[in-house]
């Protein structure tokens, strides 16, 4: 057998075990699944030292490889971070189990009772990069929603992920659930990913979390449906009828509160009738917060020190303290700009005008459209949906926060008493 065949066979074997585990997990009660999560949490807390030891190997390797301090920080586990992972699982146990919920039921004229019931998706392939805490979050959400998960983390975190996944699998076994519900793929090369993406017989959904090249690779090669988190080029449009104090507060929050995340604002659109009043004061606050501004020509007439924005800027997710600013002459121009350059993630209008608010809500087609609120609210916790495995930029199956409900699909159940089709 060639090494390639061996690799393929071992991945197929993992996927087959995941399928079988998923079928058992789908029948587990909410109480059993919650017990599984509680045992994982207890074992994480009880095995803090060996987990830290495994993590140290990854961190050492990362330092020798010269990774940036930001990456090393993301990779590093501490006692506190392990406690946070365990607390996250406790949190998931408190969320309602989506599986089995009958979302609708009706009666047909012929007497058939037809219902739609939530069921688990099945087997999820989760491809992610370095943070070891993601391993636990994803496993917890999948187990609670009745899905088996195959974890394929980055090579930088392999020791930490292996140690964590081992604790998880062992805990599931202790709780009477199939250990194979959560399996880690130890092969961290791209070839392994490519094999995984073809196993549509065993895997129902691929969720990639990571940089653009990884996601592109997955979308181009997957025969399995993919729910991805691509990018968040989020806008705030300050309308001519905005309360400018509110606008300043919201724009500050949307850009500065956590600039490195997907729902942070990347482009500010300002109506020309208020630009001369609004931009100088906004600019002062941004400058105090070290935000670099790149403006259109009209912006630079008002803010002469601002750099010039290029067409590329409107398409860029900075994930940093940089903001592109454009002055527009109408709400229509703002909406057109968002449709053209945005990524349909999170977009907001600030206005006191009812019609403008309604037009923006109707015509902007993003996963979340906000009136008078910060784009930073596009988040499972903030929406009240509980923990999330990511924010989907897909249009299908789910958009925006992907929590427990979004980790399920449905089936129809039909109760008859002998009906046949005419």
């Amino acid at each position: 057998m060639t090494p390639d065949n061996q690799l393929e066979q071992s991945i197929v074997e993992i996927a087959r075990r995941a399928r079988s585990a998923a079928q058992k997990l789908a029948k587990a009660s909410s109480a059993q699944k919650d017990e599984g999560l509680r045992v994982i949490a207890a074992n994480l807390r009880g095995r803090t030292s060996p987990l830290l030891q495994s993590n140290r190997k990854d961190v050492e390797r990362a330092k020798q490889a010269g990774l940036t301090s930001a990456l090393i920080d993301r990779l590093t586990l501490t006692k506190k971070r392990i406690e946070a992972m365990a607390a996250g699982l406790d949190e998931i146990t408190r969320l309602p189990d989506p599986v089995g919920e009958v979302t609708r039921m009706w009666r047909r004229p012929n007497g058939l009772r037809i219902g739609k019931v939530r069921v688990p998706i099945g087997v999820i392939g989760f491809i992610y990069e370095s943070r070891p805490n993601v391993t636990v979050d994803a496993a917890g959400l999948c187990v609670k929603s009745g899905n088996a998960i195959i974890l394929r983390g980055g090579s930088e975190a392999i020791e930490s992920n292996s140690a964590v996944a081992e604790v998880v699998a062992l805990s599931l076994g202790q709780a009477g659930l199939p250990e194979d519900c959560v399996q880690l793929l130890r092969m961290t090369d791209r070839a392994a990913v490519n094999i995984m993406l073809k196993l549509d017989e065993y895997i129902d959904l691929i969720i990639p979390r990571g940089g653009k090249p990884l996601i592109k690779l997955v979308v181009e090669n997957s025969m399995i449906p993919v729910i991805m988190h691509y990018e968040g080029i989020c806008h705030t449009y300050v309308d001519e009828f905005a309360d400018l104090d509110m606008a300043e507060t919201i724009c500050m929050n949307a850009k500065v509160q956590r600039p490195g995340v997907c729902n942070a604002m990347e482009t500010l659109l300002v109506h020309s009738r208020v630009a001369e009043e609004f931009l100088p004061r906004m600019c002062k606050s941004y400058t105090d917060a070290s935000v670099e501004i790149r403006g259109c020509d009209k912006t630079r007439k008002i803010l002469p020190k601002a750099k010039a924005a290029t067409d590329e800027d409107w398409r860029t997710e900075y994930l940093d303290l940089i903001l592109s600013v454009k002055v527009v002459d109408s709400i229509d121009e703002a909406i057109e700009h968002i449709a053209r350059y945005g990524s349909a993630h999170s977009d907001a209008i600030v206005t006191e005008n009812y019609r403008r608010a309604q037009q923006f809500i109707e015509e902007v087609d993003s996963s979340a459209v906000f009136v008078n609120a910060s784009t930073r609210f596009n988040d499972g916790f903030e929406f009240g949906l509980g923990a999330e495995i990511g924010i989907s930029t897909n249009r299908l199956h789910c958009r925006g926060p992907m929590g427990l409900e979004e980790l399920t699909t449905y089936k129809y159940i039909v109760y008859g008493n002998g009906q046949i089709r005419q």
Copy 2:
């Protein structure tokens, strides 16, 4: 420019126009969209002769090419069939518009009001084979649900499809809707499909309808999400506690009423405790209806004239008057057989026992699970959902009948009054 580049450019141009049309259509009112459908229906009725003329060219070509009479029948338009196409559109105008429906809305502790609203998917690529009536059905459903559609029909029906698509586009224009909402791809070779499958910037969803090779080609090559209709290997399990008269009626209906469709039964599972009583009488009815039976060893002890079923039979969607029959010793064996060989389409149990019914409903994971009813009911009309563009065998986005609601996705709308994230 090479011919390949030219082909690509013209398909990109069609897709770009579809995207632009979709953005306008998304804003159209229900009344405007219904008016569009009514104008299409009127024009189909008014142009019956030229449509029949175009169709005759396809039929002639098909005859010369020696296509089977079944295929030629599917391809042939008649006055009655054109009237049925128009009547189908009238039917769609009477269905509720799914777009804009707020399916949920709630208030967060910080005062944000968050709602989930149905919005169109966007641009749909519809790849199908010969029936020209499908062209109108698909166009009607897409327009009503606010989606632009790119139709790529089979080469056999190119004249008919072109004539129909022309009437549709012209009618949309007359009704004040963008003509490019419905466009026909006249390039009927596979190269055109392959180009289309890469245009994820412009096309949001691909729906292939046709044989397995076509669907496989699409799934393997698409960078765009695919909702497919793969196959229906549907089972009816006659439990030991079945009312055998009811079982006979249901099994007859599920196999014979229309054997060539996806929700027809392909495999009958019978509990061993009732097999000796049930199989001979069932077999008599089937024989009268010209159904060929292929049985397991136990079946053949009871029905010595039955052919032997091979492992391949359990995996086969006959779409014909052929039925595989297996005697099982328990409901668990029946459920395991369905999980192993079925296609998760439509499966039924016949039983008077409450626990057995509930176990079957819980543990069989098919798009529709029936108790005491024919699998033939897995259908948009029969479920009361209205017309359908197909029955999805995907697990994600939608399972089972894909009607107007399933042709939408959602966005979150968030009404605030200055909230920022802490």
